[in-house]
């Protein structure tokens, strides 16, 4: 069951002007593209590639901010910050939490797009 606080729906719907078709498109992109982002992040972590972690964290932060997902956005910001400072010790755990939270975000958004369920 999707958490009620994973997405600020009022904020999001205002931002996309209530366009549910666009929302469906965004959810599909979220499902498809971000699996690859997490794979890339784990590869970057295994190579100690802090610049790669920073870049992926930045991109996820932008996406989650745009989707009005405050917790996921904060986690992505922390990921970006780890990449920037080069301290990757907590990145593995952070990725797991972020992936879980983004799953909740996707589920919440999907609940508004019945054709996708």
């Amino acid at each position: 069951m999707a958490s009620d606080n994973s997405v600020d729906m009022d904020d999001l719907l205002e931002r996309i002007d209530g366009d549910r078709t666009l929302l469906a498109e965004l959810v599909e992109m979220l499902r498809k593209d971000y699996r690859m982002q997490f794979q890339a992040a784990r590869v970057a972590l295994s190579k100690n590639d802090s610049a790669g972690i920073q870049r992926i964290g930045h991109a996820l932060k932008g996406a989650m901010s745009n989707l009005a997902a405050p917790l996921a956005s904060t986690m992505a910001r922390d990921l970006e910050s780890c990449g920037r400072t080069g301290d990757l010790s907590s990145v593995g755990e952070l990725l797991t939490q972020l992936e879980h939270e983004m799953g909740r975000v996707a589920a919440k958004l999907e609940s508004l797009c019945p054709e996708l369920v």
């Binding site: 666009l22 979220l30 996820l60 901010s65 989707l67």
Partner: protein, 315 residues
């Protein structure tokens, strides 16, 4: 109006794209900085750009610096997108050449308002450029015929001879004079004379290959004196010039000129030469003297004809 959205995150890019399309923009999207630069530096590319600060290949400030380093293209109004929590220094972005910045995620109303500012700046820029180009045109073109004026065509001839010298290619020159022009003025009046000059100029332009509007390459036509015109033909060798000169002469003779209610038969005389080798020991004045002598011969031997000057080839 076209606008570029550059962001490596697909969702952010799509949302921005949709927001802008709803506002009537034609959106061009780029997923990294290099692709964004490529789009912006393409001829006719977008003049408005929303650029994410952090992107693969080239980040926002670096992109701004690249775009600002180019002075040969229309101005691009750039808005940098930064993160609300970011420590990125906005000053760095503005110093790199960004016109404005917005924090992500963008509020639609704020984005539209800031883009309106961009529109105003670009419109002002376009008006200034148009005014500058008009002044530049007036400073180098004859007001009656819109051909290059004497100073400009002489300057083009000098440049063309030096270019031909470097590239070892020939260049041909024609000096054309309207036959009995004084009589046209005397009989039909100066307004009619002006009409004839304009029509001659128009026909000359149609009979040469002016494929570069600024005359940097291709043929050029200038008003050399009252009823004298100088034509410069790039890459036109001695084997081609006579026929080209005949074509120019025929372009005037073949169709009568409509002046007021009268049809006038107008002809021109032409002296021409081809320069196959040019060096600094030769003078442009000497070259034009030779062509002028050939033109005089064309006049004295009956008019409405083309006469070659002695070749200036040294070998």
């Amino acid at each position: 109006m076209r606008i570029l959205v550059a962001d490596d995150d697909a969702i952010s890019r799509r949302m921005m794209e949709k927001m802008l399309q709803t506002s009537g923009y034609e959106v061009v999207a780029a997923e990294d900085g290099l692709k964004a630069v490529s789009q912006l530096t393409t001829k006719g590319g977008p003049r408005l750009a929303l650029i994410d600060w952090m992107m693969p290949e080239l980040d926002g400030p670096a992109l701004c610096r690249q775009i600002r380093s180019r002075h040969d293209q229309p101005y691009v109004y750039i808005i940098l997108l930064t993160s609300r929590e970011s420590t990125e220094d906005v000053v760095v972005g503005l110093e790199a050449g960004a016109d404005d910045y917005l924090t992500k995620p963008c509020c639609s109303a704020e984005l539209k308002a800031r883009l309106l500012t961009g529109h105003r700046i670009l419109e002002r820029e376009d008006r200034l450029v148009a005014a500058r180009e008009e002044m530049r045109f007036k400073a180098t073109h004859d007001s009656l015929t819109s051909l290059w004026d004497r100073g400009a065509i002489m300057s083009l001839l000098k440049n063309e001879l030096h270019r031909a010298m470097r590239s070892e290619t020939p260049v041909s020159v024609m000096l054309c004079d309207i036959d009995h022009f004084k009589q046209i003025n005397d009989v039909y009046g100066h307004v009619a004379g002006d009409t004839v000059l304009q029509e001659v100029a128009s026909r000359f332009m149609q009979s040469v290959r002016t494929y570069d509007a600024v005359g940097l390459y291709g043929d050029a036509v200038g008003r050399y004196g009252g009823e004298e015109f100088l034509l410069i033909l790039s890459d036109c060798d001695a084997a081609q010039i006579r026929q080209r000169a005949e074509n120019v002469r025929e372009s005037i003779e073949k169709r009568p000129f409509q002046v007021n209610d009268s049809e006038l038969s107008i002809t021109v005389s032409i002296g021409f030469t081809t320069v196959t080798k040019w060096d600094k020991t030769q003078s442009i004045e000497g070259l034009l003297d030779r062509v002028d002598t050939a033109l005089y011969e064309a006049k004295s031997s009956g008019r409405n004809r083309v006469i070659p000057a002695e070749s200036l080839a040294l070998v």
